[in-house]
């Protein structure tokens, strides 16, 4: 039953070409409203940035879209499938990089990649070839036998992205993927993301780096669980009458802190 439904909605999503559609998506923790009725539509192949100060609901939103936590109310359709009704079907179509490094530090680079790709059914000769390609593409081939725990921050993030994309998902969720990573590594990371987006991958990313925000196709600004603005970086700058996204961000943060005190 639920499978038939998800197939139907998948078709309609394919027609509309949207990777993510949320309607009044809401999450409460007791009296705390983490996300207050979010309406978002992200078309296929877009690099979409979620911006906002800490506690604005970015991570909660991503966790609801990946099925890690259940929304209090509202709906979310990801890759054409209702997340609340069928989280397992959604999981096969997405990749996810958590805020904290979530791979096994006591496994090697190649072992991590093998484990995650095999969980998605990328197995056998095809799996081996795909892993070899992605190790080359990400520059990880010379380090494939190193333990993941021995990698520096930049390499860890690259490995995490590799693990999140080897099964060729429709979209990836990246929760602050470059936090604490040096500028050169960040640039390389974003080059890979841009290439993948050109090939049709939808990317939903949260970040604190404003140069990264400027590289997104569109941005959504969150503040205390509410959607403040949505649009291309230049649209948002125009809307707030400011020269850079960073200025917009800082004004938001000051407003938040002012509201708290």
């Amino acid at each position: 039953m639920s499978n038939d439904q998800s197939v139907k909605s998948a078709k309609s999503a394919d027609q509309s070409g949207d990777a993510v559609i949320t309607e009044r998506l809401r999450k409460e923790y007791g009296s705390l409203v983490a996300v207050a009725g979010l309406d978002l539509t992200i078309p296929r192949g877009e690099v979409f940035g979620l911006l906002g100060p800490n506690g604005s609901g970015k991570t909660t939103t991503i966790r609801m879209l990946t099925g890690l936590i259940a929304p209090t109310s509202g709906s979310a359709v990801v890759a054409g499938i209702d997340v609340v009704a069928n989280p397992e079907a959604v999981r096969r179509r997405i990749g996810y990089m958590s805020q904290r490094f979530g791979l096994y530090e006591d496994l090697t680079v190649e072992e991590n990649l093998q484990f995650y790709s095999e969980l998605y059914g990328v197995i056998g000769e095809q799996g081996r070839k795909r892993r070899k390609d992605i190790l080359e593409e990400f520059g990880l081939a010379p380090r494939k036998d190193q333990l993941a725990g021995a990698l520096s921050g930049g390499w860890k993030q690259r490995l995490a992205l590799a693990c999140a994309t080897t099964h060729r998902p429709d979209l990836v969720f990246l929760d602050e993927p470059t936090a604490g990573v040096d500028p050169a590594a960040r640039r390389h990371f974003w080059r890979i993301i841009s290439e993948r987006a050109h090939a049709g991958l939808t990317v939903l990313v949260t970040t604190h780096y404003m140069d990264e925000a400027e590289r997104c196709d569109r941005l959504a600004l969150l503040s205390r669980g509410e959607l403040i603005a949505i649009g291309t970086p230049s649209e948002i700058k125009r809307q707030f009458g400011m020269d850079s996204i960073e200025d917009v961000f800082i004004s938001l943060q000051e407003k938040d802190e002012g509201a708290l005190t």
């Binding site: 966790r63 096969r92 496994l107 072992e111 969980l119």
Partner: protein
Amino acid sequence: MSVRTRLQRWTLWPMLWKEVAQLRRDRFTVAMMVGIPALQLVLFGYAIQMEVRHQKLVVLDQAQTQESRLLAQALVNTGTFDFAGVVHSRAALEQELAAGRARAGIVIPHRFTRDLVRGRGAEAQFVVDASDPLAANGAIAAAGQAALVRSQKIVEASRRGAAPVSVVIQPLYNPAVRTAVFIVPGIIGVLLSLTMVLIASMAVVRERERGTLEQLVVTPIGKSSIMLGKMLPYLLMGYVQIFVILGLGSLLFHVPFRGSLLLLLLLSFPFILASLGVGMLMSTMVRTQAQAIQLGFFYMLPNILMSGFMFPIDAMPKVAQWIAALMPLTYFLEVLRGILLKGVGLTALWPQALILLGFTVLLVLAATVRFRKGLE
């Protein structure tokens, strides 16, 4: 539906492979799982002595005759006592006991030999430090035995024939009544549940603490794959532990193995799984590894004290017996002692086997139901 089950079935193999790869690098855990049984076996095997031997005995011999000296000698001959000196007054004897220099004293009065010769019952007084009941019971039993031996000898010597009543004792299954023979099979059960419960309770919570669980649960892996993938390698380790303890037990303590090894391994299967199920169930209740360890010890204490590992269940109060009936270890100990010491088979052990199987199904099911593939 079929796609989903197929997907979930093969996620077990990567999970198993990953767990084994991690275990292979975790030399410490592997060494502990083999080292701990060996160490515990030696500790328990040598230290736990329920027949308390070598208790210090002082003698107050007021009779000073051949007969009185033979009685004191008979006490030492039981093996329970070591001769610790002669005292010359009742006060001195009690002082030795109070100071802890002796655990028991024998008082042989002046008229002891005179009463014997006249054919009246001769009395000697045995004074024992009963603050430790286990030691005291051993001493009292030995004193009674020594008196019996002397009485028989005296009756036989007076040619009045054999003693009128004698009970011939035949200790079955453990003829020398050695504690190690009783304790070592129990150690297999206690150690298996200790290590299996602890390691399983930490398995899931460790991934939660390290942040790897969040990454894992957004994949299409089935939750049964996560549980089984973690339990099966430990099951194998459990069998390694059984062989280590059986081998050392036979080598160091000459513990017999009278029944079928195959049956023992077969019935260990539900017990190990049930213990892993308990651990998995705990891991769904705690947030940190430290909590898991605390909960693990909270579980183990009644298991060690009430399962019949050290103290007979029949002698416990009713409430303790009910608690014992709720612990898989209670039944597994009966299986272990039954097979190793009595050499019995499934015809005697089928109730225990069925109960263990029931525990396994119940616990693994409860753990799987409680385990949520999410972060809440």
